[in-house]
Symmetry: C2
Subunit: 281 residues, 2 copies
């Protein structure tokens, strides 16, 4: 099989990366996708860089074993702690969430002031701050960890009082730190589910219109560009999506909310026994 006909590999700490898959399927409808959600060890956002890197290696090895032409790290925390390391170690190109999101934010801002929200790990890693500084050192950045947004999105509480008060508290902190922010990066795969609420609260708290940058969309566009540049685009036919998870308990219930369509092919796999991937579990 020619390399261009291989699938795009996507891994995530859990189901959140399906928001990236959703964008990939819009941007590249003729590409096959192999998705791995590490639902047995989710979340990554509150764990150490060492743990997250170890899990990311496991995940990458599993997908490479199934044959992929390019690897997308959908999880922002795994991107923050896994790159550039995994890109150097692996025989395929590896794209993360942080750089595409940072570039898009720099393009979007008019005031030169950008806010970034994400998990504890992503924010503590300062990876968005560094990525933005590399592209546009003059842009000022404020960041805020929002640990409750992931459980709210998973519980499906995306627009009621609890979600609204939580958003007001986190975004109040963020916009209180730096005036004139006009661009907000949603630096976590779960946050697109809260997008309408975040747009409304951000605009209200900031007292001005705020552009939301969703790293899922940015990653999908970066993936298309990378495949085209490498001559790895697969032509014709509808792409297939194959999902693997390390724990199947909640994928049927939660997965479709993130993917935006039914999940037709899901298989549970055990990848944590010393990194030796095997089916079953």
């Amino acid at each position: 099989m020619s390399q261009a006909n291989l699938a795009i590999g996507v891994f995530d700490s859990g189901v959140g990366g399906l928001t990236v898959v959703r964008q990939l399927r819009r941007e590249l409808p003729d590409e096959d996708i192999l998705y791995l959600g590490d639902t047995a060890r989710v979340p990554y956002g509150s764990k150490s860089p060492q743990t997250v890197l170890r899990y990311s290696r496991n995940n990458a090895r599993f997908l490479l074993g199934r044959g992929v032409k390019l690897l997308v790290i959908a999880c922002n925390t795994a991107s923050a702690f896994g790159l550039p390391r995994l890109g150097e170690e692996l025989p395929v190109q590896v794209l993360g969430a942080v750089e595409p999101g940072a570039r898009e934010a720099v393009r979007a801002t008019r005031t030169g002031r950008v806010g970034v929200i994400g998990t504890l790990g992503t924010i503590r890693s300062s990876s968005y701050r560094r990525a933005i500084a590399e592209v546009a050192p003059e842009v000022e950045v404020a960041t805020q960890a929002c640990p409750l947004f992931v459980p709210l999105a998973e519980e499906g509480w995306v627009d009621g009082d609890v979600a609204r008060l939580t958003a007001e508290r986190y975004l109040g902190e963020l916009f209180g730190t730096l005036a004139d922010i006009d661009t907000l990066v949603l630096g976590c795969t779960h946050y697109p589910l809260l997008r309408p609420l975040l747009a409304e609260v951000a605009t209200r708290v900031a007292g001005r219109e705020v552009t939301l940058v969703d790293s899922a969309g940015a990653m999908a566009r970066a993936t298309r560009v990378a495949l085209e540049a490498a001559g790895l685009r697969r032509g014709g036919g509808a792409g297939r999506l194959t999902c693997y998870v390390t724990d199947a308990a909640r994928i049927g219930e939660v997965g479709p909310r993130f993917l935006g369509e039914a999940l037709t092919s899901v298989e549970e796999v055990d990848i944590d026994a010393g990194g030796q991937a095997s089916a079953g579990g």
Copy 2:
């Protein structure tokens, strides 16, 4: 070393089990305790029975390798899915969270109607329902999964508007299901941190006084009884607490909130490589 001089082993999915250690140190101040928090794979509450049992076996094997005379499963989800299996497999007595909590609730209720709150896994397992039915088949039970309480407790948001609204929503569901509940079981190690708020909201929503049963206290008392019955009480001297975690990222910050005192001895260990425990990470 005589068996009575060995430590009590306690494992949990993460830091929440330190609320059980806190009660154990009050109830049995002269006993040594080895605690293992599986913080690299936390939480268990949303994962499948198979995954939780596999992790629980890993944890138990690690603690038995260090020498313990009795094993306490602090995590309600791990108790729900790991017992009675682990008790049959292991060479020491194993106590879980569910049975002591269930017995205490039966003793406390006057109306014969008990509410139980816990993680998705604990509630779906029906383990509290079964344990209560075994002791007192006439007692009626209503249950409610409360997935947001764990992240709220970990974020330290235990008394503000967000926590209050969340509690009102979950407890409103619970007390709406069954009238005249007078006893509420906190079926998760994190919930004692929300206790004052839960007591207030439960009483208001129920329109009557509601007794809160904290499984941590019940487990500590059950542990004392079990050690005395087996002639395994260690006399004299102040007991030492040794903590192991599989990911040390947040234990220093979050741990003391759960334990109620400073954590003096914490070591990070890697236990997930095919169940072979080794220090380092």
